[in-house]
Amino acid sequence: MKVISANKIRNIVSQLCIQANLVLRQDVLRGLKSATLKETNKKAKKILEAIIQNAGIAKREKLAICQDTGMPVVFLEVGQDVKIIGDLKKAVHQGVELGYKKGYLRNSVIGDPLSRRSPKYSPAVIHTDIVKGNKLKITVLPKGFGCENKTQLKMFNPTAQLTEIKKFIIDAAKNAGPGACPPFVVGVGIGGTADYAMFLAKKALLRKFGVRSSKFGVLEKEILKEINRLNIGPMGLGGKTTALAVNIETYPTHIAGLPAAVNISCHALRSATAVL
């Protein structure tokens, strides 16, 4: 049994919010750099260079990579042998509040989605999973809404062909277009229920660059190649860098259905993780 205090969780969440928003993930940066080398369209190359330069300025000058510091999404993997002293959810929300304030991030969260008044830093959206062991893993994913607005869900017939699902994913990238800040990372969730497919699509964004699904790696590569043939490119002005990765996560589903969800991240794919 491991004992972790809510105070400690609050402080770690606060740090993760700042780190995620100010320091671009090394693997994402590497992905951008290798895409820049391969890009042949002059305009696209210039935009990719600006994106890389922006990440450098953000890190050095402690500025947010993007002004849309997102709706903070927090993934908690709680080991079943962990005992938390205090209020876990409150600690997460307070950590977000603290980190966003300290990091001079943006208060983009409104309490009432309909009246839309008084933007604040929190609450976060929290996804909690209970796992084996005595560790607590916390990941903060600040999700910008330029790309979140382009999310797609389709409930396919169970007899659907793989080609239909591929087309759905490629079309989701096409429809996301210039406004969602390409080059994208395309998160795909297939299976489960509608909500679970959505969750998987979001979780897929957390996967490290270069890591392919053991079962669907070939499919991921094929779809990525097709998306990069769309000629949308950075800022939608053409080029072969429309997506940096396609990550597919799956889960068992019902005999009567086949949910598929696409959650797109802009090029500023930001996340930070700590394990306690």
């Binding site: 935009i47 600006a50 994106i51 330069q53 922006n54 990440a55 300025i57 953000a58 000058e61 402690k62 500025l63 947010a64 990579i65 993007c66 002004q67 849309d68 510091t69 304030k101 001079y104 991030l105 943006r106 208060n107 983009s108 839309r116 008044r117 008084s118 933007p119 330029g146 607005n149 087309k167 490629i170 096409k174 277009g177 210039p178 406004g179 969602a180 800040c181 097709e226 043939r229 769309l230 000629n231 949308i232 800022m235 939608g236 002005l237 053409g238 802009c266 090029h267 500023a268």
Partner: protein
Amino acid sequence: MKKIKVPLTESDIENLKVGDEVLLTGTIYTARDQAHKRLAEAIKQGKKLPIDLKGTVIYYCGPTKTPKGKVIGSCGPTTSSRMDAFTPALLKAGLKGMIGKGNRSQEARAAIKKYKAVYFLTFAGCGALLSRYIKEAKPVAYQDLGPEEILKLEVENFPLIVGIDARGNDIYKKASASIKQI
């Protein structure tokens, strides 16, 4: 690379062509979703606007908080299409330029052509980089909207690309023609 100043003159606008790279200097205003809703409502009701739209440029942007010692926080463009419904009214009231990211509706494009205005793109998702071109930022209206308040910005050589010119030529119409159908 063309250098232009705000307020935009008729000949400035006339000379801008889709795809041109432009450096903009002068006073511009931030306004995004809720500010647009309020401005359009005020125009409809014939009320006085908190900013003079004649010849001015609006930047679709809601920056982060300003860190100590900085002029502004991270301040890149937001998705322009969400402002499309309000754009014709603002253009009719004298707005001449807009800065944002992504494509516009057919109605917005037609209004840009009708009122001889221009839509600019700037580096999307590069808010830290773009903060370097902003020399001054002052709140002017709708402070209750938080990051959606209207700010008056003094910009110097702010980097832009002409997205839609006064003739209605659209960079994305060209681009979408080249998007491959699969």
